[in-house]
């Protein structure tokens, strides 16, 4: 293949250098972190020909995963492997570690970034359903200031985000869950490694001493046009003791959202029953310790 065609390639050494550059340019900017998606897109079409490619992968300020009080902060340069192996993420947001572990293969995870997964808004983005149940926020560098945007508001529709030109997502922010929150992530693909998601399911749940659910969130990914969670689905379990009947109700309600939101498509006949079955399986194992 030829090179990725672009107007210019710029690799700032520091965030300061990047900010200076952004202040002084009115060109279209495309950021590259790991690049595993950008290079593939460029293969199909010269879509970056008139853009400046800004390489942020090695910016030290954007590497790493840290704690900030009751929050986890994940830098835009953190790879899926970094997130999957992070002690902080495994302790306080395990569902995200599990989701990152399901991305591509080790070879891809070692270079692709979680932030890239969000910004590319891939409909099959494996991590997105886990970020949805965690209610992630994004810190975005816009006009030399950092603003915080809701993750749900940034992804518009498949492969389209709502960021403005030059906006750079610098960090992903997640509220820590306490250590006894149960969670699970499930990915349905056509093969074990390198599968493109047909569907993912992410869930988190916490019960109090008497066994009543005090926190519950579940959603599926690679299913809706953008990441979503549903209060009416979550409310089925909240305040109650998990039972087979309630789990069946959650499964039915969540799977009914598929035709409701995505409309009836060819895949609906497949996705709706699969979603129902998978939700039952995941929740029965997680909450009742039963295999179904």
């Amino acid at each position: 293949m030829n090179n990725v065609k672009c107007k210019k390639y710029f690799r700032p050494e520091t965030l300061l250098e990047l900010k200076d550059f952004l202040k002084n340019t009115s060109e279209n900017v495309s950021y590259i972190a790991g690049g595993t998606d950008l290079i593939l897109h460029a293969r199909e079409k010269d879509i970056y020909e008139n853009n400046i490619i800004v390489d942020i992968f090695n910016l030290k300020e954007l590497k790493g995963i840290k704690e900030e009080g009751d929050k986890i902060v994940i830098g835009a340069g953190a790879t899926h492997t970094d997130v999957e192996q992070s002690d902080i993420v495994n302790k306080y947001a395990k569902v995200l570690a599990l989701a990152c572990r399901s991305v591509g293969s080790v070879l891809i995870r070692n270079h692709s970034t979680l932030c890239g997964n969000i910004c590319n808004a891939s409909p099959a983005g494996d991590s997105l359903s886990s970020l949805a149940v965690l209610g992630a926020k994004l810190r975005v560098l816009r006009d030399d200031k950092i603003i915080e945007l809701d993750f749900f508001d940034v992804i518009d529709k498949p492969e389209v985000n709502k960021l403005q030109n030059k906006d750079l997502v610098v960090e992903i922010v997640i509220n820590k869950l306490d250590e006894n929150v149960k969670c699970d992530f499930f990915k349905l693909g056509r093969r074990k490694a390198l599968a493109i998601s047909r569907m993912t399911i992410s869930t988190i749940c916490k019960t109090d001493e008497s066994g009543n659910v005090v926190l519950f969130n579940i959603t599926c990914g690679a299913t809706f046009p953008k990441p979503m969670t549903f209060e009416d689905v979550n409310n089925i379990l909240i305040g109650k003791k998990p039972s087979k009947e309630l789990i069946d109700e959650v499964a039915k309600k969540l799977s009914d959202k598929i035709p409701e939101i995505a409309g009836i498509r060819k895949s609906t006949a497949y996705k709706q029953p699969v979603c129902e079955k998978m939700v039952k399986r995941v929740l029965s194992k997680m909450l009742l310790n039963e295999e179904v």
């Binding site: 090179n3 990725v4 595993t36 593939l40 490619i53 492997t81 591509g104 080790v106 270079h111």
Partner: protein, 158 residues
Amino acid sequence: MKIDFTLNNKHITLDTEPTKRLVDAIRDDLSLTGTKIGCEVGECGACTVVIDGEAVTSCLVLVGQVQGKNVLTIEGLSELEIGRILQKCFVENGAVQCGFCTPGMLMSAYALLNKNQNPSKEEIKEAMSGNLCRCTGYVPILNSIEKAKDELKTLSKK
């Protein structure tokens, strides 16, 4: 653009287009053709190289991104003790047939054993999950890595 990095333990400066794929820079600019090109979309692992200790698909990395990094290709691995052991085990255990996947397989195996001297069968499978082989059926490859692991252990005890 000039890109400074370490390639196979030697510092080099490469003057090339930074938006060239790393695999093309390695094969065309540097004439190291041990790294293969298969699918070109990150699915086969034929182009695997190791950057700062991590195995990656070099068809999905731009050469500009390796500025300041340490890149190891199959040519560099063949000069290391661990590379020679892996090569011997692959040959002795029938892990090489057409050989097209072999450089990538060896790089992934190296990245694993370099980090984890005692990987379980599952960990070996996981580490090799991004490398496809159309000939061997994988079992001889996995066995070879087990053997290499044992040989490396014996070596480190000496």
